[in-house]
Structures are given as structure tokens and as C-alpha cells.
Chain length 201, copies 2
DNA sequence: TTGCTTGCTGACCGATGGTCAACAACCGTA
DNA sequence: TACGGTTGTTGACCATCGGTCAGCAAGCAA
């Protein structure tokens, strides 16, 4: 008797496996460095099977992305009981910790911002929603344009500074965190939108 | 007599034409939406001719990019006689003016719709060199890590704020400029690297 | 008109994203 | 233990892409 030519998995399990290995592969190689054939080969299955579970390469990629996005979302969700500034500090700390753990993936993600539409949309979406959350804390009604630009720009600042951080590694996480918080304060001040009493810190 | 099957140009002229039309096409369509065959068709020549002038699609794309980059470089070059802060303000104003004129191109560039690694490298290169220029003005010897992170991050802030600007258009160029300068000041302050006497504003 | 330089082309290649009809692993049943 | 059906899985195929090559022909010089 010849051994089975392939192993058969439950659809759910196979799907999970593909997402897991996919995220792993995409963290190491860029989107168009990686062909669907190569992915299939790495996982040990055929290309059509990959297409059986995901209708296109982009959708497969996006699926692996949205996993990471939900982890981000979950881990940076602050305690709603805390005062706004502390919520921000808490989120920020969680965010930096996440980057610290997934340095490679973060770098790839930021590099991919200028290339693959899916990555751009993901990052843009996170920025927009985060900006909205912060602004809502500062201006319950409607934020003035300058403050909005300041907060949104600051989210870019954050990614720039984090990229510098993982590239150079000559700053402690606390130093970076304080630089980020201090810059937000500075940006808001420059926007004539001084935040509520920075209670020490 | 049949009319000529194709028009023959001087190599120099053809090259210029390809660069011009290419920049135009890449400003409208994304990098991989546009195939070399399609570009050739749009220009009215054969694909191999395109490859005769440019060795690969990426190099062709890069060539169209470097045009824009030199314009940026030229227009934001400040007067070296001015004090550092004024140089910065001058560069900034020129930069915002450039964006104002080429809003669509700037948006495409930042969104990365246009590209792949080349766009990232271009933007990254501009940021790195600009950061070096600014830091050199502040710290003739060697910049401390926090200041470097602050300046580099601020260049990201700039792009974020500019993107917000062209998207919403509810800020005057002067307001944006002051927000940018003020935030740089704030970031440097947060980095414990207060710049030389901000001589009024 | 001829000849020659060289700008230019049709036809081709391997690889990629994506599709389809058919095969076979494995569970339920007797 | 044999078998039949479900469905997870595959080899073979397609159009198109980036890129190459041998050869054609536009247009100047004689």
C-alpha cells in the first residue's frame, strides 16, 4: 500500500494554518517578492488549494493583515476608567511593547506603506480612527482644523520615531514614550489647542 | 507609395518623450496597474523600444521619479546666508508651495499609489537627508539620539499634516507652516534639545 | 538610386496570478 | 472489512506580465 499522497485537514484547520504561515511569510518577504506558488510550496500544498481558501492573492494578504490589526486593536485598548492622558500613555506603552516584540513585522509594514494598497489602507484606517479617539477625548464636540491636523500629523510622527527607534535602538522605551507624549503636547500647543492640565508626568 | 510604418526620432528626443509621458501616466495610474505594454501602446511605440531606452520597468519608473525629486531639491534649497531657523522657514514655505501646486502628485506619492520600493526609497532618502541637514544646523558635532528621533519623526509629522491639509483644505498655508514649526520646537523640547533662542516668530 | 546607420518591430520566453475538471482521503455505514 | 459519498485536494491549463532577440526599414549621405 502506498502512503496517502496528501494529508487532508478540516477546512477550518487548513484555513487557520494558511493564515498563520502566511502572516509569517509576509513578515519576512515583501508582497511581490512572494508568489502564490511559492507560498503554497512553503506550506506544502498546491496553489489551487490556496485559491480554494482565498479568492485572490490580495485578499489572502489582507486576511493575514487583519489578524495583526485585531491584535493591535485588542492590545492597545486602554482602560476607559482612566483619565484621558493616562489612557493615552497606557495605549502608547502597549503599542511600543507590541513593536518591540514584532520589530521585523513592524518594519516591513511601514516599508510596505508605500506600495501595496492594502497596507496603506490598513495603516491609514488605524491612524484615522486613533486620531478620532484622541480628538474626541480633547474636544467632545468638534475639533478645530488645526488640532485635527496636529493629532493626525502626530500619528505620523509616532511611526517615524518608532521606525527610527527600531533602526537605531539607542533610546529606551520610556524615553521614546516621553518623546512621543511631549511632542503631542507640543503639537497641540502649536495648534493653539492646549490640552487639559497636563497633570504632572 | 505606402506611408512610413513608424516615425523615427533622435534618441535624445525619444528619451525625453518617454520620460515626459511616463511621469504623466504614473501620476494617474499606480505602478502595477500600468504594464510596460500599455505604456508603449499609450505612447504609440512598441514595447521593445521602451526597453531599448530603459533596461527595466523599475528603472523607467525611477527615472520619472528622479525628475520630480530634483525639482523638489532645487526649490527647497534655502539661502545659506540666512540664520538656521529662517533657512528652515524658507524651505518649508517653498515645500508647501510646491505641494500646493502639485497636490495630486503629492497625494499619490504619499499614499504610495504609485509605487513599489522605489517610492519608499525616494521618500526615505529625502527624509534622511533633510533630517541630517536640520540636525547639522542644531548640533554641529553629533546629535543626541533623542534629538535625532525627534527631527526624523517630525519629518513624518510634516507629511502627515500636509496630507491632512490637502485632504481637508481648511487651514491656510501660514497656519500649517506655523503648526509645523511649532511642532518641531515642541518635539525638540520634549527631546531635551531646546534649539538656539527661537528669535520671536 | 543605392547603401548604410541605427531607430524600431514582431515573435518569442519563463514566471506570475488565477481557473477548472477530475481525483482521492477519510468518515459513515453495513 | 468493504464500500459509497462528501469534499479537500490536485495536475494541467490560460492570459498576461516583465523582459529578450534577430531582423526589418526610416531616412541621411553618396
Amino acid at each position: 500500500m502506498a502512503p496517502p499522497a496528501y494529508r487532508r485537514l478540516q477546512a477550518e484547520d487548513r484555513r487557520r494554518q494558511l493564515l498563520e504561515r502566511g502572516a509569517e511569510l509576509f513578515a519576512r518577504n515583501s508582497y511581490d517578492e512572494l508568489s502564490m506558488g511559492e507560498i503554497a510550496r512553503q506550506v506544502g500544498i498546491s496553489k489551487p488549494l490556496l485559491y480554494h481558501y482565498f479568492p485572490s492573492k490580495r485578499e489572502f494578504f489582507q486576511a493575514t493583515l487583519s489578524q495583526a490589526a485585531s491584535e493591535l486593536q485588542a492590545r492597545t485598548e486602554p482602560d476607559p476608567e482612566l483619565p484621558p492622558l493616562d489612557q493615552l500613555r497606557q495605549s502608547l506603552e502597549a503599542f511600543l511593547e507590541l513593536i518591540d516584540e514584532n520589530e521585523l513585522a513592524y518594519r516591513k509594514l511601514m516599508q510596505g506603506v508605500n506600495g501595496v494598497a492594502e497596507v496603506r489602507d490598513l495603516v491609514e484606517d488605524v491612524r484615522t480612527r486613533t486620531a478620532a479617539r484622541i480628538l474626541e477625548g480633547l474636544f467632545p464636540d468638534e475639533a478645530p482644523p488645526k488640532a485635527r491636523a496636529a493629532v493626525y500629523g502626530w500619528l505620523w510622527f509616532m511611526d517615524g520615531a518608532c521606525l527610527d527607534w527600531v533602526d537605531n535602538r539607542d533610546l529606551s522605551r520610556e524615553e521614546l514614550r516621553d518623546l512621543l507624549l511631549g511632542t503631542l503636547l507640543g503639537a497641540l500647543t502649536a495648534a493653539d489647542a492646549v490640552p487639559l492640565e497636563a497633570d504632572a508626568g
